[in-house]
Symmetry: C2
């Protein structure tokens, strides 16, 4: 079951969500979201690999050592990054205030922030808004929360999957905000997933890590990595099935597939809503000798400014794709490569097929979503990376920001 915003009721047994306009930096729009689990939930997280980690990342990482959580508090507007010990203290106080309002320990609160770098989080608007926010969280508040964490996104991103484990219905629901970077320093990717599945802490952390690699780590807007990137997954175990201990069990596999769908669809939505993006493009590398080479090749093509400007210009510029692949540091024979735009073959054995094919490829490129496939014909490994074009609006948006 695939979640479209207006068709389904977004809810997960035992979880509540809500949002409010706290006025942290934006005025007149929701900028503070709260997600609460009725019972302590098994919690897993994945954070930015950036060496410069924002205060909420540092704090939540330490809180996750306890493996359970009751609440997630997220603000947009100010990232609380590059704020040193004062920023960390603000994050701690935020968690403490939330814990008091929700009625749990501070260590059971996870926090995340997105927005301007270099400014510490102001505590007054948070303190003023938290009681109201806690009072108004509700089972179907997820779209509100998805809207409150937006910065430069143009649409809220929400995804839900329902599965059955041992005759119990289990729901996996996720929200995300994009690496839109429509305002600068706001490149942050945030995603929060809740489920009533019962799963051990170790299994949850493992599956979250592995599926992050297959979803959020397979997309790129511009290759920049935020200081605040965060994914939290909370599993409250309220579903009636036997707790999942092994990911290779049938229940573990069913849960993994549901989590994968939620994460991958959220990831794709983020790319489609990339700043200034007019095209959603899947870069597939097949026939690679190793999976890691397929990923590296696809990622290098997906990040190439020359490829991305050609996507924007609807120019079937296969030469730029080959040139990007050539600098990816992977093993292949240029004289064996086949290259397709959609299902149109443009390159055979490393050579251009002809202008007729290029015309057909240009038609493919006029669509808002399509794929580019490179077959290295070296082996069996294949991987996809999802990207968008580099448009005039990307530059306008990112150059004009603070003026």
């Amino acid at each position: 079951m695939n979640g479209d915003a207006d068709e389904l009721e977004f809810s997960v047994p035992g979880f509540m969500a809500g949002a409010t306009a706290a006025g942290i930096r934006y005025q007149g729009r929701p900028d503070l979201a709260l997600m609460v689990s009725e019972v302590p939930a098994t919690a897993a997280g994945v954070f930015t690999t950036n060496r410069v980690k924002a205060a909420p990342v540092l704090l939540s990482r330490s809180h996750l050592a306890h493996s359970t959580a009751r609440a997630i508090l997220v603000n947009s507007g100010i990232a609380n990054a590059c704020t040193g010990e004062p920023g960390l203290e603000r994050a701690r106080l935020t968690a403490r205030m939330t814990a008091e309002a929700v009625g749990c320990r501070a260590e059971e609160v996870l926090v995340a922030s997105t927005g301007i770098i270099g400014m510490p989080l102001p505590l007054e608007p948070l303190a003023g808004s938290l009681p109201t926010l806690v009072a108004q969280v509700r089972a179907d508040g997820w779209l509100d929360a998805a809207r409150a964490i937006m910065t430069t996104d143009t649409v809220p991103k929400i995804q839900m999957e329902r599965i059955r484990i041992e005759n119990s219905s289990v729901t996996v629901l996720g929200i995300a905000k994009g690496a839109g970077m429509i305002c600068p320093d706001m490149a942050t990717l945030l995603s929060f997933v809740v489920t009533d599945a019962a799963i051990t802490s170790g299994a949850l952390q493992t599956v979250v890590r592995e599926e992050t690699l297959r979803s959020f780590n397979r997309i790129t807007i511009d290759g920049d990595t935020s200081t605040n990137d965060t994914l939290f997954v909370l599993a409250n175990g309220l579903a009636a099935h036997t707790p999942i201990e092994s990911l290779t069990s049938p229940a573990g596999e069913v849960f993994r597939q549901a989590l994968r769908k939620v994460l991958l669809n959220l990831a794709k939505k983020i790319v489609a809503d990339g700043e200034g993006a007019t095209k959603f493009v899947e870069i597939r590398v097949v026939g690679a000798s190793r999976q890691i080479e397929a990923v590296r090749g696809a990622r290098t093509v997906a990040n190439s400014p020359l490829v991305k400007t050609a996507l924007f210009g609807e120019d079937a510029n296969w030469g730029r794709v080959l040139a990007a692949l050539g600098r990816a540091g992977i093993d292949f024979d240029p004289n064996r490569v086949q290259l397709y735009f959609g299902d149109v073959k443009l390159v055979e054995n490393g050579l251009f097929v002809g202008e007729q094919a290029e015309k057909k490829a240009s038609e493919i490129m006029s669509r808002s979503a399509f794929s580019i496939t490179v077959d290295l014909r070296q082996g069996d490994a294949e991987e996809s990376v999802y990207t968008c074009d580099l448009s005039l609006d990307y530059v306008k948006i990112n150059a004009d920001y603070r003026s």
Copy 2:
């Protein structure tokens, strides 16, 4: 002595150069350049690291195994890349035709091409133009040659140094074309350097490699690497000094310094003329624990689309610089970092200094050239990478190309 186009006579004893409009792809502008040494010259070369190597790169690499050369033939308009065995055969025939016209062996001819990928070099215009071209090469034909190899460059790039070795005057003269990419697939960096210095083949190849790392490998326009990048250095030994065998000898050191100046100045000129560029920016990383980490940090900042759009917008966005540094995969403590725009300190111990400093930094950014310095305070290693901004014109130029 530093070479400015109008002030000096550009010439090197024993070398001649010239150009003609062969009509290879462009009409009514020079697109074919020839450089000739009166005597066999010691030759060294550095080529693209791209796995997809153009036919002229493959051929010239094999010719360089002979260590001496008499001529360099370069065309713009068509890159003869991704053209397979037919392209290689065209390159071979080009070298043979040039050898016949100049009066040397085909193995003594080096070739280079820049332009559209995927089209083989047409032989007729070359065959028709070569006799005229050979007849008109002259000692002071270097600016003509520099103009003929341009594709999307807006100015020819030429640089000359005169040094003394053992009371002999020695000249090092270089020309280059940029990674302008104003037309796509034309991202190629080409540079050709000639000198009358006497130097052994081994020493020449070593110093050329080392100094390439310090010059052309320290610049970036957009991180894409061409299939055709080529640097040739020819030393004809006509100067009267004892041949340089060791690079650590006084003569070797003097020669290295001259070569470094020529290569570094050509490299900087390429960045300043980058496609759509409005800013020339030096990214300095100092206080790194190792040189390789300083380079990696500087390069990651220099390639970051978010940093480059901020440069275009004259936005002193220090947070983007720190975030880029954080994902560079280098070792540093974010809480020790100092960051400067020009001589204005914006970040101290990882924390923002204040709005007054940001105003001063914005003034610095209104200049057409400035530096950004990050002090990691880890060690003594420092390196610079030169970059330009990512402007609206970059996207326009690279999206609109083939229409």
